[in-house]
């Protein structure tokens, strides 16, 4: 199988970028998208050219490293999959694929397809935790948590922080990411003491990082590899207002 790749190449964050076209040949349908990039990179290396830089690590859809838009869709065409979980059987022989880095002001391009997503870490640092130091915990079964509540908290906590939500959003908004963490901790009894503070601090940090605002279009949910629901955004909106009201 054969594909034509138009790949965004950019030397550094402060240089201009452009698309380069590569022909990828001798591919098979059960090869992963990133393995195809490996093949292209080995060829570029042999030709004395610089290979395409891209973030990747676990290659099983959980670390959240890989991050590229394929034909304008973050992580590519498949539902509930990261880029590393895209296999070439998702494309047709002879297809042209345009591969770009995440596009958002809060995620500046570092090189080629690599972007700086540390803004997410700073949002978590602002309050995405339970303030419990090692050794302070009571027995794990001391506080029962209903199965349904625990499962809901897991659904929100499953976010891998890849940033596809921001990349898909026309506004570069991080609401889905922030809402997932706010809801994960807000749903559990352990998260209650800091609940009001947490949502306020995290939203303030999100705003300060230069993410856009939510205009309720839900592209974030559509591309999320872990199918995080926009219901959490509604929940965060509510939590935020309640927290503000509490302060008054």
């Amino acid at each position: 199988m054969k594909l034509r790749l138009r790949v965004w190449r950019q030397k550094r964050c402060d240089t201009e970028g452009r698309f380069e076209t590569y022909e990828a040949d001798g591919l098979t349908a059960d090869m992963s998208f990133l393995e195809m990039l490996d093949v292209v990179n080995d060829r570029l290396t042999k030709e004395g050219k610089e290979p395409i830089a891209f973030d990747h690590d676990c290659r099983e859809g959980i670390c959240g490293s890989c991050a590229m838009a394929i034909n304008g869709e973050p992580h590519g065409p498949n539902e509930a999959a990261t880029t590393c979980q895209i296999y070439l059987r998702s494309f047709r022989d002879g297809d042209t694929l345009t591969v770009e880095p995440w596009r958002a002001r809060a995620f500046p391009v570092i090189k080629d397809l690599v972007t700086d997503r540390t803004a997410f870490d700073r949002v978590i640092q602002a309050g995405g935790f339970v303030s419990v130091s090692t050794g302070q915990a009571p027995d794990a079964n001391a506080m029962p948590i209903g199965k349904v509540e625990a499962e809901k908290a897991f659904d929100a906590a499953h976010c891998i922080g890849c940033g596809a939500c921001v990349a898909a959003c026309r506004n570069g908004s991080a609401m889905l990411f922030v809402a997932a963490k706010v809801s994960h901790l807000g749903l559990l009894p352990q998260g209650q003491p800091e609940r009001a503070q947490r949502v306020q601090k995290m939203v303030a940090a999100m705003d300060a990082e230069g993410f856009g605002n939510c205009s309720n279009q839900y592209a974030c949910e559509a591309v999320c590899p872990k199918e995080i629901s926009v219901d959490w955004i509604a929940r965060m909106n509510r939590d935020y207002a309640l927290a503000a009201a509490k302060k008054l």
Binding site: K11, R12, T28, D30, S32, E35, D38, V39, D42, K46, G48, K49, E50, A53, D57, C58, R59, E60, G61, I62, C63, G64, S65, A80, A81, Q85, Y87, I110, K111, R117, T118, D121, I124, Q125, G128, F129, V132, S133, T134, G135, A137, P138, D139, A140, M143, P144, I145, G146, A150, E151, A153, F154, A157, H158, I160, G161, H184, L185, L188, Q190
Partner: protein, 637 residues
């Protein structure tokens, strides 16, 4: 060299308690004067950094990923063990200790393992308090499942993403300390050398992976929490970035490397499908709770799984190990799978695969329940293979998954280089010759949350703060070595991409130092490897520059280290003239093909000392004394 494990005196069950009450302390006001470097942000690294920062030490934390949340602990699927006995099924600290020692085929230290079993219960408490959403029963209590090598249900889990949830818990604790200013976090930084000043670990040299800048970092203690070296096999369940550079560089600076040949091959991974393959994906061991492994009874079977009648199937694990059945430990299950494939009864296009069948479980529990338990694993399998495992059985094959070997550490988790601590998979300490399922997460968190905060304090209490001098000779020499090496890698400008060497090394190790080993094969590998190393340094092509994000350069450095480490793995395997756990030497087996341990000769831990480039490493020995448990032949039959 005399290796002193510094095991506290007293009865086994009281050692850790006694240790804690006698440990030397640093006063709260003095803690902030000490700086501690933590390399790696997986379960061990993140939990250690957070816990030390909570105590008041100043911490500098490093990871090569763009965020600490991406360390490969995140990919652990199945669960974490703890001797809570919430199921009332006879579990206890003693039993977890016994299972772990036995699972490791009596090649680990009793005192360390007992401590691990003791603190396991605190880990679950801590994680729940952080908001880790473990699976629950309807009544709100924590749920458990069983894992290989145990006859009790002591594994806590969060669907098929336990590692992710535990790591996010530790990452959140880490993030809290970053916000409080106790931790300076440096992502996209790779440790390239250890600085040893006057015999003590006093700092590291790092490369900023975006700017290429090399920096010296001085500290009063250095913690390596950098994971295992299974990527030496190239194809493995490790993350692509997982590497041995930090521990290997520390080894070259004097830290002893223990049991490098103890590498775990996990039985349930998706089989290799082609040449270009970059990674093997694990299907959690928890699947063996409900999945049954089988191959056709006849050799060269051409029919599809569904067409093979029940009577012509060989449920080989149930047949060979009736009491543990499909939940036999990993080393045993992997070797059994290899054996039936070697007999020509393997399935799939390559013949290197066995079936993992859920039809019986679906019949017994209903598809809904099976889906609830394993939906994400089945989805993952479908994504990769395009097959639906609810309808036809999965195909699985063993793959490199974990390394029990690592830097030698004493009871304090300190290496033979004072001030250098090694945690989690990077050390050798707790799993002997084979790790049981759901024990890696337990060990990483035990080391970071509950062991290191005590032992680091004990060490620092005897040190003056602010010891490392970045302008001193030791730092200068380490910096110059690192600069020269980077320059050398970029300067070869040969013809072959790094990946080619990585693949070739991987194949040599898989063939000669994989699931089964022979004297002849190991000797052959030891003969070929220096040549491959030489070829690498003459013909590798690392494009680009050093002052830039250069992933080829990163990989090249890591592969260069694997090329050295690979040889040590083979040497260690050659010297260990017995079979134990994952280390199966064909010369030493029982008549029915099981491991034949030689306790008289090898009830010990090897600890290799680096003597300089081109010189053979020297093997030291730490004898293992079993005071509580009788050395017994491991049987899961």
């Amino acid at each position: 060299m005399k290796l002193d494990a510094r095991i506290p005196p007293g009865p086994l069950a009281e050692k850790w308690t006694r240790f804690k009450s006698n440990v030397r302390l640093v006063s709260p006001a003095n803690k902030r004067k000490y700086e501690v470097i933590v390399v790696g942000t997986g379960l061990a690294g993140a939990s250690a950094a957070a816990s030390l920062a909570e105590l008041g030490y100043r911490v500098k934390s490093f990871c090569f990923q763009d965020s600490p949340r991406r360390a490969h602990s995140i990919a652990a699927q199945g669960g974490i063990n703890a001797a809570k006995n919430y199921q009332n099924d006879g579990d206890s600290v003693r039993r977890l200790f016994q299972d772990t020692i036995k699972g490791g085929d009596f090649r680990s230290r009793e005192a360390n393992v007992h401590r691990l079993a003791e603190v396991s219960v605190d880990i679950i408490d801590q994680c729940v308090a952080q908001g880790v959403p473990f699976a629950r029963e309807y009544g709100g209590m924590l749920a458990n499942r069983s894992f290989g090598g145990a006859q009790v249900s002591r594994t806590f889990y969060a669907r098929g993403a336990t590692g992710q949830q535990l790591l996010l818990g530790a990452y959140q604790a880490l993030s809290r300390q970053i916000e409080l200013g106790q931790i300076e976090m440096l992502p996209r930084h790779e440790m390239l050398d250890l600085v040893v000043e006057e015999g003590r670990a006093k700092g590291i040299i790092t490369r900023h992976l975006v700017t290429g800048e090399l920096t010296s970092h001085a500290a009063d203690a250095v913690l390596l929490c950098t994971g295992g070296y299974g990527n030496a096999y190239y194809l493995s369940t490790y993350a692509r970035g997982s590497n041995a550079t930090a521990i290997w560089r520390a080894h070259r600076r004097g830290a002893l490397f223990s049991n490098p040949c103890f590498t775990q091959i996990h039985p349930t991974c998706i089989p290799v499908s082609g040449e270009y393959q970059s990674k093997l994906t694990l299907m959690s061991e928890s699947l063996r709770n409900d999945g049954r492994c089988w191959v056709p009874k006849a050799k060269g079977e051409k029919r599809s799984a569904a067409q093979i009648p029940e009577g012509e199937r060989d449920y080989f694990l149930e047949r060979m190990y009736p009491s543990y059945g499909n939940l036999a430990p990993r080393d045993i299950a992997s070797r059994a799978a290899k054996r039936v494939c070697d007999e020509g009864r393997g399935v799939g296009p390559t013949g290197l695969g066995v079936y993992l069948d859920f039809s019986e479980a679906i019949g017994r529990l209903g598809e809904e329940t099976v889906r609830e338990r394993y939906a994400n694993l089945f989805a993952m399998y479908h994504e990769i293979t395009g097959e639906n495992a609810y309808e036809s059985p999965m195909r699985i094959f063993p793959a490199a998954h974990y390394t029990m070997g690592g830097l030698w550490v004493d009871y304090h988790l300190m290496s033979n280089v004072p001030g250098l601590f090694v945690l989690g998979e990077a050390n050798f300490s707790d799993h002997g010759a084979n790790r049981l399922g759901a024990s890696a997460l337990m060990q990483g968190l035990a080391d970071g949350y509950f062991v290191l905060p005590y032992t680091v304090g004990d060490y620092l209490s005897q040190q003056k703060p602010g010891g490392g001098k970045p302008e001193g000779t030791a730092f200068r020499e380490a910096m110059e070595t690192t600069q020269a090496r980077t320059k050398k890698l970029l300067g070869v400008k040969g013809h072959k991409p790094v990946s080619e060497f990585q693949r070739r090394l991987g194949k040599i190790l898989w063939d000669h130092c994989g699931m089964s080993r022979t004297k002849q094969g190991l000797e052959e590998a030891i003969k070929i490897l220096p040549g491959l190393r030489q070829e690498f340094w003459q013909d590798v092509n690392v494009p680009g520059a050093g002052e830039d994000l250069n992933q080829s350069l990163e990989t090249a450095g890591r592969v260069a280290d694997f090329l050295e480490l690979g040889e040590l793995m083979c040497r260690d395997a050659l010297e260990r003239e017995e079979s134990c756990g994952c280390h199966f030497r064909e010369e030493y087996q029982t008549p029915d093909g099981e491991c034949a341990r030689r306790d008289a000769e090898h009830s010990d831990v090897s600890a290799w000392e680096f003597k300089g480039d081109g010189k053979p490493e020297v093997r030291h020995i730490e004898p293992l004394n079993f005071e509580e448990l009788q050395l017994a032949t491991r049987s899961y039959k």
